[in-house]
Symmetry: C2
Subunit: 550 residues, 2 copies
């Protein structure tokens, strides 16, 4: 699996999904092309999916919010006759490297979270309309919807057969949503997760696994009625027209990925990627009407799209780049001006903010060591300063550097750092940072709008280390070399534990707890060994298990 | 590592710790016997520990509460000159099976939690008085204390060098207590967990890693003064005399472990252990004075001690017994009477309740499939009924069974099921069970004291399944066979996710998140492979790492 995985797509290229738009209601039809797998060696039978199918879904969810703001209800349904979705493709999982499995699950989790949150964030409510078998990852697709409707016939059931059938967990939020979202009684959940055939009809409703069970003969009309009803009750403001998300201007070469505003430089020998974000060149749009006219070329939107693509590209295609360094170059005041326009009460401003929120969360859960360098000429202001509080460490230049005539390194806080971009734990990054000294959040707030140079930023606790011209080069070099020398697994485990202090949410549990257990199981011979359940799936033989309990 | 591990010990047998009692202050001195390892093949140098060292510590913490209720402050210190504690013994870890490592960490975690909670629960406050190197598991010992004092000299430092040195995590709560208890700023925590040499002096205080830094010349006197001060300020009521915890009456044979009140039957072919708890034979003590006179022979205390020992024995010595079945036989009313005495406001009643709380939590976090059978003649009343809500599934006999003249199966709820025994998540087991239908908790409360037979117990949602004479045998057999056939790893992961719905606490995070990541790393070649860091430790060679990030 070494071919490059591209996260960019558009409706003209979809092979697995189609969307039928009808005013406030959209039909999202899953109709997976068996022969459209991302890699060789498996067929995507029974609406099973691989990363390619999920890349399309992610694209749809994103376009729904920007290109189709008129949509208030999305009905997710199957284009196949007897199956809703059979879940992640087992042969794909059986053949995939451990790292691919883990990153595949992370991306699918992010996509589920994105459409699950679309109701609360943007008033786009997802309904799962289930006809036919809905198993494993298929039921996890439904679990992330806001309302689950199941037809009542002998063939239609929801199930999580991973444990009995494959010796792995329902790892795309399945277990967590069963306990925390659906609040299924734990002994019933235990039964539900132990049976291959799933649960049908009224029992599915009684056990809180679905919201409605409907006779087959009335299913389609009830789904349609429910969609209209939800649309009518929606509080989402009417928006007539969205903006188009055109293709990114991206150039991939051996050691770089270059966009208009983002540049990724790879130093493979040093196992390092440097991600540089550029400040805006033109003036900020006067208001959101002007922003909307710029569409996908508006700086704040374009930067976010490019950053997101760079993150996804690096995660799946550059597995050995274990350290990412974030840099910025540009005019901090200009950033603040561009960002200020997003304060307007406007649908598009709202969507752009939500998009930054999601993208910053992608940074938070990225299993790489993350650092930021606040250099002279940088523009860590507002939402870009959030990157400083997302990464593991921040190094900042202090004082004049010989031969460097760029503006003095500074950090500029704005309102963006105190509310609109919460982490998965529900707190802002500064609140999480200062959990032990909550007064520091207020102290920082008192300096909104100021260009905080090294000493002041350090006193306020905003950076890890400030370094002058004498020390900078050696210190950051030693840090980078040291970091790149540690065991990547230990780094992943350490960072997953250190990054999310404070409260837990369903989201932090999915990434922190469920994922960790799934990763463990994805390493165990009972699941992935040559006689393990994943390899033996479809042979009629059960996995040959070591029965020792750990 | 196949020799039997015995969790029972007493002060006459300690090799690694000594305790000096002096009124309200006890000195707990760690002075590990290098040659006293539980297994062959390693020496416990530099106060490093293995499971045997922790079994003694667990015994001390327990006796402190029952035998020495006069103690209000415990000072944990080292008996060696230049080292506080070097942490878990690396050669032991390097040589141990994956399952031993995981169960070792679980037990040490439970011991840390037990003395950490002793201040809040029983007014026994633990001080860590650190002189010399305090690294890894050594610092984790200190982190679980309620107050950390560090001497200020060139040799004394606290550190978590696991990640850089061993490519594993500080898995005994280290990472979680750094972020959640000490609330160390995350970038400083990142540095702290990445450096081998640890942090000394004032910086350790500034970074919130310790509570006090004291000049070496004044250290001993300051520790003594602080201990007296805390003892004087303690709200713990004065208790002149404790009760002695004598040896358990236990007989271990090939297929059974037999105590006075608990019987464990092993069916190794079926990979199953059946744990039967017997009801009391004599009358309940009239009051806590009578209970105290009975001492360790009092039913409620004796039963808990035997149950705890059985749990620990099965966990470490019977790894393939993947399914535990809990049964009871006896008089439910008698149980309720014995339990009612514990309602008295009396130090010993309080300690016995806290002990049940800890023991029930041991059940909750046990990585085995757990079930309870409510049979005719059973006595699941009050605290014993908590077992029903701790296990994964409960099967109950319904109606008369042919040839069975024992009293009809029933469940009796008491106040014990509605408050005194919270789970690690801070909720009662019934609250957790009914997270989706909180009214069910009140409904159950309305039936306190009633003998609830199958239909009623089922209607109240207290059992998973009720089965009559015709179905019982087949159904429970199928359940047991099926359960024993699943991949143990998948079961462990599933159960860890399903058992703890609702809020998270530091404790649930340690067992749910930190442990899961550590287990994953304990399976990765970078840590445990033949060229991994654990094997290479001490050779001067760093681990040979696969640098792919997962």
């Amino acid at each position: 699996m070494t071919k490059m995985i591209d996260f960019q797509t558009d409706p003209s290229r979809y092979r697995h999904w189609r969307v039928e738009y009808d005013g406030p209601v959209a039909r999202l039809v899953m109709d997976v092309d068996e022969n459209g797998g991302l890699f060789e060696g498996y067929q995507l039978k029974l609406n099973s999916y691989d990363l390619g199918v999920d890349i399309e879904l992610n694209d749809i969810v994103q376009r729904m919010r920007f290109e189709h703001p008129e949509v208030k209800v999305v009905v997710m349904q199957s284009g196949k006759d007897k199956v809703f979705c059979a879940g992640a493709n087992i042969r794909m999982l059986g053949g995939a490297a451990h790292s691919h499995k883990v990153n595949f699950c992370k991306f699918t989790n992010e996509t589920r979270n994105a459409y699950e949150a679309a109701e609360e964030e943007s008033g786009q409510k997802y309904i799962a309309a289930i006809k036919g078998a809905c198993a494993g990852g298929g039921y996890e697709l439904a679990l992330a919807c806001n309302h689950i409707m199941l037809t009542d016939d002998s063939a239609s059931a929801v199930g999580l057969p991973e444990v009995p059938l494959l010796a792995v967990l329902p790892g795309t939020g399945g277990l967590t949503r069963v306990t925390d979202k659906r609040k299924v009684r734990r002994d019933l959940a235990d039964i539900f997760c132990s049976i291959e055939e799933g649960v049908k009809g009224q029992r599915a409703k009684d056990w809180r696994l679905v919201d409605e069970v409907i006779p087959n003969s009335k299913f389609d009309e009830t789904v349609t009625a429910r969609a209209r009803e939800f649309a009518a009750a929606s509080k989402k403001p009417d928006v007539a027209k969205g903006i188009a998300l055109g293709p990114l201007n991206r150039k991939i070469t051996d050691n770089a990925v270059t966009y208009d505003l983002v540049e990724v430089d790879l130093d493979r020998a040093a196992r390092r990627a440097t991600i540089t974000l550029k400040g805006p060149e033109g003036d900020a749009p006067a208001d959101m009407a002007a922003f909307e006219a710029q569409g996908d070329q508006a700086y704040m939107l374009k930067l976010c799209r490019e950053l997101e693509d760079a993150i996804l590209h690096l995660r799946l295609n550059e597995m050995e780049a274990g350290l990412w360094i974030f840099r910025t170059q540009g005019d901090a005041e200009a950033i603040a001006a561009h960002e200020a326009v997003l304060g307007e009460d406007h649908w598009l401003a709202h969507e752009v903010r939500q998009y930054w929120k999601r993208t910053l969360k992608r940074v938070d859960v990225t299993s790489r060591s993350l650092a930021a360098f606040v250099e002279h000429g940088s523009c860590f202001a507002g939402v870009l300063a959030e990157l400083l509080f997302s990464v593991d460490r921040t190094y900042m230049m202090e004082g004049e550097f010989d031969g460097d005539n760029r503006p003095m390194a500074a950090i500029t806080l704005t309102d963006a750092n105190f509310g609109p971009y919460p982490m998965a734990n529900g707190l802002t990054r500064l609140q999480t940072r200062f959990l032990g000294e909550p007064d520091c959040v207020d102290a920082a707030k008192g300096h909104i709008g100021e260009a905080l140079e090294a000493d002041e930023a350090n006193d306020l606790g905003l950076v890890t280390m400030i370094l002058d011209d004498i020390d900078w080069e050696d210190e950051v070099r030693i840090f980078m070399e040291e970091r790149a020398s540690f065991s990547p697994d230990a780094m992943t485990g350490m960072e997953a534990n250190l990054r999310f202090a404070g409260p837990e949410t369903m989201e932090t549990r999915i990434f922190g707890r469920l994922t960790a257990w799934q990763n463990w199981i994805f390493n165990r011979p009972n699941a992935v060994g040559k006689d393990g359940a994943l390899q033996r799936y479809g042979t009629g033989l059960r996995g040959d298990y070591n029965m020792e309990r750990v």
